[in-house]
């Protein structure tokens, strides 16, 4: 081994603590990058494979009832590869040990399942016998949440008949990766079941023999889905079709997509920031660390080493440190990535998992880290190499200080000589001080970025559940009812208030921009479920026109006063042009509202309702739930209290996995930066401190020079970090929005405080270490060794 390489290895061993701190900063950046991309890629690949292996449909449509014979016509549509015809139905369930009524989505299973779309992955048991109306398969999440096993029974209200159903199998389905009940915002596994029942048996119960009410289609490769849907809609119109839709509007897929989009958003924003910040930090740290090698560089030059050899020597050192960091980062990133992927997979109920990451992710993370480290080293080496060796080997000439600002402050404030020294240092090397400040500020900015998701979600929950939808529960009817149905809801035990609503599936169109969503009709005196303006103040509905939320307005490129085309997807399927009379705030889903009367006018029908938002007396909850379980008109019930807690736990759990990891990495980076800054500062001042000690200053007094400087740096870095965190956070929240939910940009004061506390804690620990070093400083050797 070359002697110079041996020196490199020994240097590495000597500065191991600092090298490790630098390596950890690099590892933090690289790990975030690898982890985020790995988790995203793995989940994406798993989803694609799951859809493919279990033949998830491409196009879906629901109708009131169509005869089987129509099926042949649909199969003949150009571009259709396979078409399945089935029966879907909602039912209220009564499950043992579950006080609240549950909702079930019943799905028919044909006799022959080969070639079938949306296939089940049986976890236990078997499929129901084709002629048994009491045998069902349920989704795994529901079974687990209610501790149900094969052989257990529960009751369901199907077409007014109370049936007892026996579980014969437990399954997963690509159609219900995200199983969400009507009226719910997030999965509530205890209260929502997917129930698969033999087709013949289900048809018998619902009087749908020889007919179907839902279609699932897989397209031929290259088929145009728009064209297929158009033809399909035309075929199904006379059977009460509500408009075909693609995966994009399929509930489970849309939610899963939103989750993945969010992961992707975090991947696009957070890891690059982490990587770049860590790159900047190592650049800064290494520039200064190698600047301290000035004399050795001078000596190597003096004894005849060329600039290239010297530069290579330090590049090797830096690459060794970076390499350690990258390896730690890759291992950490891959390991955390798999962990996070597993947690998500469990949450999504995937039957299997595919781990995948792009080689390019590793390449980018490695290259950026190495490049910035090498650039930092080169800059430092080049600075020294520019000096003649005779000069480089001398301790640097005493820098020129100005009396400057520090003295002015001194004149007014009783500052000690030590404080003045610190201030002058910083004033003398403003760039160096600025870079340290920026480094620490960036680290705390990362922390804020990682932490703020919690704040934003909490603020979203607050608005969505305590300001907009304040009802205790929402009951839904299987078909729109006339106003009398509301009276019967009001008469249910404990109901204090019932506000009717009407939801109508529509397509909103502005030129070529189209969105499928529901218009909610609301009464003028709404008080439970409300509408908020941009300042989050409740507002009423105009007697005419359509009110949409900001997301819809963005998607359709419309603003207040514009006209949009409404295509109703049920009943008479009217098409009208409606004015957008207002734009309001909503964080969940895509919302459009109209007054109940205005909506009835639009639909060209009498006042009808789809359900009611209710407030009830909590003391009578049990009686109310029991009554609902046997009320034929009610097909579903969403419980707000459950929704809030489920929402918190679901969305947060989702973000938590990622954010916890990000926070941990940000903490590591923050510590690495502060520790290195303090250590380098100590080296830069070692001679001065030794001189002061020789002059009779105590350790406390000389430590104060360093600590004062660190304190001043922190004092500037902390608020700057808040600003940077605010900026990064804004970027992140922009990327976070999806059709399913938007996250308001909120940063709590506590978050700023937490980020700053971490940085300050890092500073305190570093200060203690530096203090110990000051204690151990060998005065004579420091002075003799000429820096």
């Amino acid at each position: 081994m070359r002697t110079l390489d041996r020196k490199m290895l020994r240097d590495l061993r000597r500065m191991w603590a600092q090298a490790l701190a630098i390596a950890l900063v690099i590892a933090g950046g690289a790990a975030t990058f690898v982890l985020a991309s790995g988790a995203y890629r793995s989940l994406d690949e798993t989803r694609i494979a799951y859809y493919e292996r279990y033949r998830f449909g491409d196009i879906f449509a629901e109708i009131k009832r169509a005869p089987r014979s129509v099926g042949e016509q649909i199969k003949g549509i150009d571009g259709v590869a396979v078409a399945d015809f089935r029966i879907l139905h909602y039912a209220v369930l009564d499950v043992a040990n579950l006080v609240e009524p549950a909702t079930g989505q019943v799905v028919s299973v044909p006799e022959r399942i080969d070639g079938q779309q949306n296939r089940l992955h049986l976890r236990a048991g078997r499929l129901p016998e084709f002629d048994r109306s009491d045998e069902v398969v349920v989704n795994e999440a529901f079974a687990k949440a209610n501790r149900l096993r094969s052989g257990d029974t529960f009751r369901a209200l199907l077409n007014g008949k109370l049936c007892t159903l026996r579980i014969v199998g437990i399954a997963l389905s690509p159609e219900f990766i995200y199983a969400i009940g009507p009226g719910d915002l997030v999965p509530d596994d205890r209260r929502f079941a997917v129930i698969w029942m033999a087709e013949r048996a289900l048809a018998g119960i619902l009087d749908l023999e020889g007919a179907f009410n839902a279609v699932s289609i897989r397209l031929l490769r290259g088929a145009n889905p728009e064209q297929v849907m158009k033809t399909l809609d035309a075929v199904l119109e006379r059977y009460g079709g509500t408009g075909a839709f693609t995966r994009k509007d399929q509930f489970s897929h849309a939610f899963l997509d939103a989750e993945l989009a969010q992961l992707a958003a975090m991947r696009r924003v957070i890891p690059p920031i982490f990587l770049l910040v860590s790159a900047f930090l190592i650049n800064m740290i290494l520039t200064r660390a190698i600047g301290l090698e000035r004399e050795q560089i001078g000596l190597l030059k003096a004894i005849g080493y060329g600039p290239l050899t010297i530069a290579m020597h330090y590049i090797k050192l830096v690459i060794a440190i970076t390499g350690i960091g990258i390896v730690i980062g890759f291992i950490m990133g891959a390991w955390l990535g798999q962990g996070v992927t597993r947690l998500y997979a469990e949450f999504f109920h995937f039957p299997f998992l595919i781990f995948r990451n792009d080689a390019s992710t590793y390449a980018i993370a490695g290259a950026v880290s190495v490049a910035s480290a090498v650039a930092g080293a080169l800059r430092a080496v080049a600075q020294v190499l520019r000096l003649a060796p005779a000069v480089a080997m001398q301790p640097p000439a005493p820098p020129r200080y100005n009396r400057g600002l520090a003295s002015h402050i001194h004149a007014r404030l009783p500052l000690s000589q030590m404080t003045i020294m610190s201030l002058r240092h910083m004033a003398r090397w403003p760039m160096r001080a600025a870079v340290t400040v920026l480094g620490i500020a960036l680290a705390s900015g990362l922390l804020i970025t990682a932490l703020l998701s919690f704040d934003s979600v909490e603020s979203m929950v607050n608005v969505a559940f305590f300001k907009i939808d304040r009802q205790h529960a929402t009951v839904g009817f299987n078909d729109p009812q006339n106003m009398r149905a509301i009276d019967s809801v009001r008469q249910l035990p404990g109901v204090l208030r019932a506000e009717p609503f009407r939801t109508v599936p529509v397509r909103l169109r502005n030129g070529h921009r189209v969105r499928r969503l529901s218009i909610s009709g609301k009464p003028a005196d709404m008080d439970l479920s409300r509408i908020l303006d941009a300042n989050l103040r409740p507002q009423g509905l105009p007697s005419q026109g359509l009110v949409i939320d900001t997301r819809v307005a963005e998607l359709l490129h419309v603003s207040r006063g514009d006209v949009v085309e409404v295509e109703v997807l049920e009943g008479k399927r009217v098409q009208r042009r409606v004015i957008v009379s207002d734009i309001v705030t909503s964080y969940l889903g895509l919302s459009a509202f109209m007054g109940l009367e205005a909506l009835a006018d639009l639909l060209d029908e009498g006042p009808r309702v789809s359900g009611a938002h209710i407030a009830y007396d909590v003391l009578q909850e049990r009686a109310l739930f029991d009554a609902i379980k046997s009320t034929p008109v009610v097909s579903s019930i969403g419980l707000q209290k459950r929704s809030i807690s489920r929402f918190r736990s679901t969305i947060k759990q989702n973000i938590d996995y990622m954010v916890t990891v990000y926070v941990a990495l940000a903490v590591i980076i923050a510590f690495g930066v502060v520790y290195n800054s303090a250590r380098i500062q100590l080296s830069e001042h070692a001679r001065e401190i030794a001189s002061l000690r020789v002059l009779g200053f105590t350790r406390n007094e000389v430590s104060r020079i360093l600590l004062t400087e660190l304190a001043i740096v922190l004092l500037i870095a902390v608020p700057l970090g808040w600003l940077i965190g605010y900026g990064f956070g804004w970027l992140l929240i922009q990327a976070f929005s999806s059709d399913l939910y938007r996250v308001p940009f909120t940063i709590e004061r506590a978050t700023y405080a937490k980020a700053s506390l971490v940085v300050i804690a890092a500073a305190l620990v570093s200060a203690l270490i530096v203090r110990r070093r000051v204690n151990r400083l060998d005065l004579v050797s420091v002075l003799k060794a000429r820096d």
Partner: protein, 241 residues
Amino acid sequence: MGNDLRMSDLVFEVRGLTKVYRSGEVEVRALAGVDLTLQPGELVVMLGPSGSGKSTLLNILGGLDHATAGTVRFREHDLTALDDAGLTAYRRNHVGFVFQFYNLIPALTARENVALVTEIARAPMTPEAALDIVGLGARMDHFPSQLSGGEQQRVAIARAIAKRPDVLLCDEPTGALDSKTGVRVLEALMRINKELATTTALITHNAAIREIAHRTFYFGDGRITSVEINKARKAPSEISW
């Protein structure tokens, strides 16, 4: 050592050498027109107070610093015309340095500090041989921190001579040492000068050392004030301070 040597036999030929340092607003004239020649195998001592320009001259002779004006010829090369790469090659192939503060690499052992040079030299002796010459054969695997000041300086000398340099430039080699240790260091330098015929220039504050030299240059205010030829050289052990 007569004056009848031809020009090309000179090791160094310095004419009108001037060096001005600019440090902020202050301009320091370290050398103000120095002329001198050094001959092969010669051992010269440079004496003078601090700031008289000795170190600056040595640095320029060794290619560690650039002159402001004047010329320095090493054999047939004009050092003042060389660029950075040229100076590096010059230092690597021809010059050995000994510094007052040894300037050893603390992370390397004695042997490795010498090897640092032998690895890039053209026809070096082995590090072991170089350390033997300075009497440190037994302590080769010690780190600088495990060696006394005199030992460290002898390692520095071994490092300087291992490449068999044409010139050996020593800046206060005994400045940080007690007299007994200093004598051992000087003995090592003289032995090398004699055995390898290395032209040696030695800066010192210590006037007693001039007695081991062929010639002594006296410095003052950036100039050579006088030159003294030593007719009867003494051995280091015969001098004292």
